[in-house]
Subunit: 234 residues, 2 copies
């Protein structure tokens, strides 16, 4: 008998944007794991802090903020060993993930190590994509729109390719790419349709036309470019 690895999405930040299912599972957890800074701070854990049960075993996965993959590899191997230990005693391990575990989520790294070895369950969460659309009151897509979600760290050429065509676009993880993205969107005639959002659903949330975006964008920021006929009418 082995426990189940459960990846639980806890949404973009507002503690109320957690599902009833995630709430129930976390409330009943015996062992939880989550990504954290080297100092042990974890945004994912903060979202659900009010109902993490007392006495729960906590496994912070302390990811160093460096570009190289080497230290993270070591950290994930350690996390694997530790989580596997609990699973082998028929204990479920709940991995708390900001947003959705399978939508640009860090859960993927654990998933890849455990898949086909132990039972795995994934509880979907509210993504930043729909959270940003909601707080900016800009409908993302309807009817026969395509939607392309684009990571901001692509190079200029890849970005231009991805931004071609019709439909709606969302550029994730804008951060230090803001200026570069602005130029590209300008060149492609998409600048005026673009909305900038950071820290969606949190107290320090910013929503602005891209022309009024702050000069420095945090990592958790997005540019939304809804489809051209943004208001759908019958």
């Amino acid at each position: 008998m082995t426990g189940t690895l459960i990846g639980v999405g806890v949404g973009p930040g507002d503690p109320e944007l957690v599902t009833l299912k995630a709430h129930r599972i976390i409330q009943g957890a015996k062992v939880i794991a989550y990504p954290s800074t080297e100092e042990g701070e974890s945004f994912a854990r903060e979202i659900v802090a009010d109902y993490v049960p007392s006495g729960v075993v906590e496994i912070p996965i302390k990811i160093p903020m460096v570009a190289e993959r080497y230290p993270s590899q070591v950290i994930y191997n350690e996390a694997y060993t530790c989580i596997n230990h609990h699973l082998s005693f028929d204990q479920n391990v709940i991995v708390i993930c900001q947003g959705d575990p399978f939508f640009f989520g860090s859960f993927m790294y654990l998933f890849s190590k455990f898949v086909n070895k132990v039972p795995i369950e994934v509880i979907p969460g509210i993504t930043s994509l729909t959270a940003c659309s909601a707080v900016s009151l800009r409908p993302l897509c309807a009817r026969s729109d395509t939607v392309t979600v684009i990571p901001g760290n692509l190079n200029d050429n890849e970005l231009e390719q991805a931004l071609k065509g019709e439909g709606a676009f969302a550029i994730m993880k804008v951060g230090r790419h803001l200026d570069r993205l602005k130029s590209i969107l300008e060149r492609l005639g998409l600048f005026n349709r673009s909305t900038y959002i950071s820290h969606a659903t949190l107290a320090n949330q910013v929503v602005a036309p891209l022309s009024k975006a702050p000069e420095i964008a945090p990592y958790f920021s997005m540019i939304l470019i809804p489809s051209e006929d943004k208001y759908v009418t019958y």
Copy 2:
């Protein structure tokens, strides 16, 4: 003083995949509206049926299942008048939406009629996109993947264009387009990476490789094509 129009996403079907915020708002509702069949059946309302307060005013928006837009236009105009009446008495109106209100949601039609006229709030919901990824245990995207969401009703040419390039793809609302989509995916070399999902998170959920999909697909079905390196490792 006017009430607020609140579009509330209630997720893909599992009543536990509703957010705490949606749950609280619906529990406290005085007036709710939702899309329904002409017979008054509403999938969105069913999801939250357990906590719709007794005595609530209900506005079913009975959309006829026909291709023409004319009758829907009349129905939405009637719904507008009725909802506007309640709002004008400083009463909030909660519009219950399957999935997410701004992600291919029917809420868009009401939004377009009320935007810039009354206060509007949107509560994001779990989309079928991440629900299908979760139940099929197939991570959708990581790192620098792009994700393209494609409605199944596009024509062959549009589909081929949308399915070009790298990254992950999700084809929504497969329904009667299943055979056509299969041929196109085969032609583009994407068939073997494709997973078919219908009724995600519900008791009658189906998850299968596309090669084993049933012959007839319901409207609420999806084909997921995660990015090629589907398991992400450090």
